[in-house]
């Protein structure tokens, strides 16, 4: 059968099935289990209303436990076992991991990533959103800046591999070095410490468009009157931006920031494709890949550490989103 039909049929069954489930389970609850008639009408209605939310949430709860909760618990359990998965070794995987210098490098680098990438891309996103807002060709500029979002991380890495190429005929950076300054070409991905920043630039390039679009929408949502009032009161453009506009989009800025942070803690493709973790550019997700399918005990231990780091950011993100809704 044609895969397209397979896909369509799957979607139809999935969507239709869940639709049927809601209608049927609701009908069962109201008509059969606790009918709103007979001697206990009011008690039945109350009971039905207590059960209904659980009934409706059941598919989600089951799916989440199966695909999120179970894997987390399963991974943690697996991380307590040795390479082959046969012997229980307690927290040995964690102690060896914390003792390894490569893990510490990866951890430190990841902290750096989590600090630099969200700040820079949010900052640039906000700046661009504001600067392009009143421009006639602003939408074209925005589309161009948004475009990298559509590229996969590996695709983006490949593009930047050319930018960073040692050959001055290929790499922009080395072309500048050689032709403007007469210096010898160098491999920027081998420059200690800074190579991390060069890798972050790739993610910033991809992610700035995302920040820009969200923040641009938020800026447009600000009531015109507040800005007009400020201008009439004699505020200069900087004051309007920092004292009137930014405070009104703070919540959005935080959401964008935390979303990007979570993304940063998941991205492994860039490091994997660019340096393979060599030259002290290792980060946790690519460090984990080294062990996957070889020593699942250690791989899951890294995964648990990554999860523990992401959790507070995630909690903050959800809280913020909830606060916005109120």
């Amino acid at each position: 059968m044609n895969p397209i039909f397979q896909g369509l049929i799957t979607i139809a069954i999935g969507v239709g099935g869940i639709f049927l489930y809601f209608i049927a389970s609701n009908a069962f609850l109201d008509k059969v289990l606790f009918p709103a008639k007979g001697p206990n009408t009011s008690r039945n209605i109350n009971r039905a209303n207590t059960i209904r939310p659980w009934l409706f949430m059941a598919p989600t709860i089951i799916a989440l436990s199966l695909y999120l909760v179970y894997p987390v618990i399963g991974s943690f359990y697996r991380s307590l076992f040795n390479r082959s998965g046969a012997d229980f070794i307690g927290f040995t995987n964690y102690t060896t991991m914390f003792a390894s210098s490569e893990f510490r490098t990866a951890f430190f680098n990841n902290v750096l990533w989590a600090l630099v990438v969200p700040s820079v891309s949010t900052f640039l996103g906000l700046l661009i959103a504001q600067l392009t807002d009143k421009l006639r060709w602003g939408n074209i500029a925005k589309s161009l800046i948004f475009m990298p979002m559509a590229i996969s991380f590996v695709g983006a890495s490949l593009i930047w591999k050319f930018v960073y190429a040692i050959d001055p005929e290929l790499g922009v950076i080395n072309a500048l070095r050689v032709n403007l300054f007469g210096a010898a070409p160098l491999d920027v991905l081998q420059v200690a410490f800074w190579n991390n920043i060069f890798l972050m630039v790739i993610l910033i390039w991809v992610q700035t468009g995302f920040a820009m679009v969200i923040l641009s929408a938020a800026l447009r949502g600000i009531p015109e009157e507040t800005i007009e009032a400020a201008i009439i009161d004699g505020a200069n453009p900087f004051q309007v931006f920092f004292k009137i506009q930014v405070p009104q989009v703070t919540n959005t800025i935080i959401v964008v920031f935390t979303t990007t942070t979570i993304l940063v803690l998941k991205v492994f493709d860039i490091v994997y494709a660019m340096t393979g973790g060599n030259f002290n550019t290792q980060i946790l997700p690519s460090y984990m890949m080294q062990f996957m399918f070889r020593d699942d005990g250690r791989a899951t231990a890294v995964a648990i550490v990554i999860m523990l780091i992401v959790t507070p950011v995630m909690v903050q993100n959800i809280r913020q989103a909830r606060a916005e809704m109120r």
Partner: protein
């Protein structure tokens, strides 16, 4: 070396993953034509009939490479009536491990290196070959003893058995060069390491650059240097030491191993020996690295790489005329070590004992199966009954000869070490060494990592 090529690298990641196709096709070489061993095919067809049966084969080869294999399977389908579905994937190594745990195994898996097959055999994912194939490699392959040994692992019950047959090999101990440039400059093919070193120095003295080295391979960056070190091990230490090294009975930081690493450094780290210097070598893609030989004037004169490398040469370069190879020579000082050859190979392993699975592996054991692959190029066979005339070029034939006449043959050591070492710590260690770390500390780090494996 298939595995390292297939491991994700920036360049290959964007290439679409291999697709499954099972459409019927014509036979590539009409039956009865040419010097093929058609008798073997007829004999095989007479004994095997699997009409209406379907089997799945998976492997790491994709694209044109996979098509070569599909062309071969067409003969099996023609002879037996079975349908063979081959699917290749760049992430074969992960897929097969997942399938082993989650289900969905193919009938036959084509491993690009035996290390993973060994792991899966011990987990009970693979089954031993049928009795009819037990002594197959011993009887039919040159250096059959070593091949058989490389396919013999303990199974889930701890009992040793043969878990597949080798199909397709690469020779690694080769140095590629452009004969025209050697002739013009008046260089002779070195017969010893001492001569090779002297030649390298001479090229530098005359203003040239002797070597192109490229270790870049995306996440697998560093593997070409492991081949250098393995070849140096075979030329500076005994075969027993090599085997002990691979199993870690000889620690990685033993002076013998450190010396082999430093022998590689004599070429890679000496000023002026490598095009672009060692730092560039560490990240230059191994597929692009040989291009320097074909520049004018040449960016380098020699490139050490396995027999598969011609597929990455520029399109207009023809192996055998425009480019040649010589055997990476032994040290005159270590004459007693003979002429060792480093190689690698893929292994076809069954996951069940269906008749059609057994029949398929028996088919891979026929000389005609090897000949059909040989005729399509890029395939070397140790099968003694395969007709050497089938090879499409003298280069291939000469490679086949190296394989069948080596005084000692050893398998790529990094492919046999545990994954964390052979496909990770060893690679990154070699990158560190090439970019300035000293051999002893690199070796210490790899040994420490090895000791961490529980």
């Amino acid at each position: 070396m298939q595995t390292k090529r297939t491991l994700v690298s920036a360049a290959t990641l964007v290439v679409a993953l291999g697709a499954t196709s099972a459409f019927a096709q014509d036979l590539l070489y009409p039956k009865g034509d040419g010097d093929f061993s058609w008798d073997a095919l007829d004999a095989f067809a007479a004994e095997h009939d699997y009409s209406g049966e379907t089997m799945d084969v998976t492997g790491a080869t994709t694209g044109d490479d996979a098509q070569r294999y599909r062309n071969l399977y067409a003969y099996f389908a023609d002879a037996t009536g079975a349908t063979v579905n081959y699917s290749g994937s760049e992430s074969f190594e992960q897929d097969i491990v997942i399938a082993g745990q989650a289900g969905g195994l193919p009938d036959v898996a084509l491993f690009p290196q035996p290390g993973l097959a060994k792991d899966l055999a011990s987990q009970g994912v693979l089954v031993p070959v049928a009795d009819s194939l037990d002594g197959f490699m011993l009887d039919n392959y040159a250096a059959g003893e070593s091949w058989n040994q490389l396919a013999t692992y303990p199974g889930a019950d701890g009992e040793e058995d043969v878990f597949g047959i080798f199909f397709g090999t690469d020779v690694k101990s080769l140095v590629w060069y452009v004969p025209e440039q050697f002739e013009e400059a008046g260089y002779d093919i070195p017969e010893t390491q001492e001569e090779l070193m002297a030649l390298s120095q001479q090229i530098v003295d005359e203003g040239g650059t002797p070597w192109c080295i490229g270790l870049g391979s995306g996440a697998a960056t560093g593997w070409p240097a492991t081949d250098w070190v393995e070849d140096m091990m075979l030329r500076t230490a005994s075969l027993e030491d090599y085997d002990r090294w691979v199993s870690n009975d000889l620690p990685f930081n033993d002076p013998i191993v450190v010396n082999a690493i430093e022998q590689y450094g004599m070429y890679a780290l000496t000023d002026g020996f490598v095009d672009g210097g060692p730092a560039a070598a560490a990240t230059t893609d191994f597929r692009d690295s040989p291009d320097g030989m074909f520049d004018f004037p040449p960016a380098c004169y020699m490139h050490k790489q396995a027999s598969f490398i011609p597929i990455f040469f520029p399109d207009d370069v023809e192996a055998g005329t425009d480019v040649e190879f010589f055997y990476f020579p032994p040290f005159e000082a270590n004459e007693e070590l003979g002429r060792p050859v480093l190689g690698s190979g893929g292994i076809a392993s069954p996951t069940n004992d269906r008749d059609v699975t057994t029949g398929f592996l028996e088919f891979l054991g026929t000389p005609i199966a090897h000949e059909i692959m040989m005729a399509q190029g890029q395939f070397l066979s140790p099968h003694q009954d395969a007709n050497l005339d089938i090879y499409t070029s003298d280069v291939q034939r000469a490679l086949g000869e190296i394989l069948t006449t080596a005084t000692s043959f050893r398998f790529d050591g990094s492919d046999l070490m545990p994954g964390e070492i052979g496909t990770n710590a060893f690679w990154t260690g070699m990158v560190d060494y090439t970019t300035g770390a000293d051999a002893q500390s690199v070796a210490d780090a790899i040994q420490a990592r090895w000791e961490e494996i529980q």
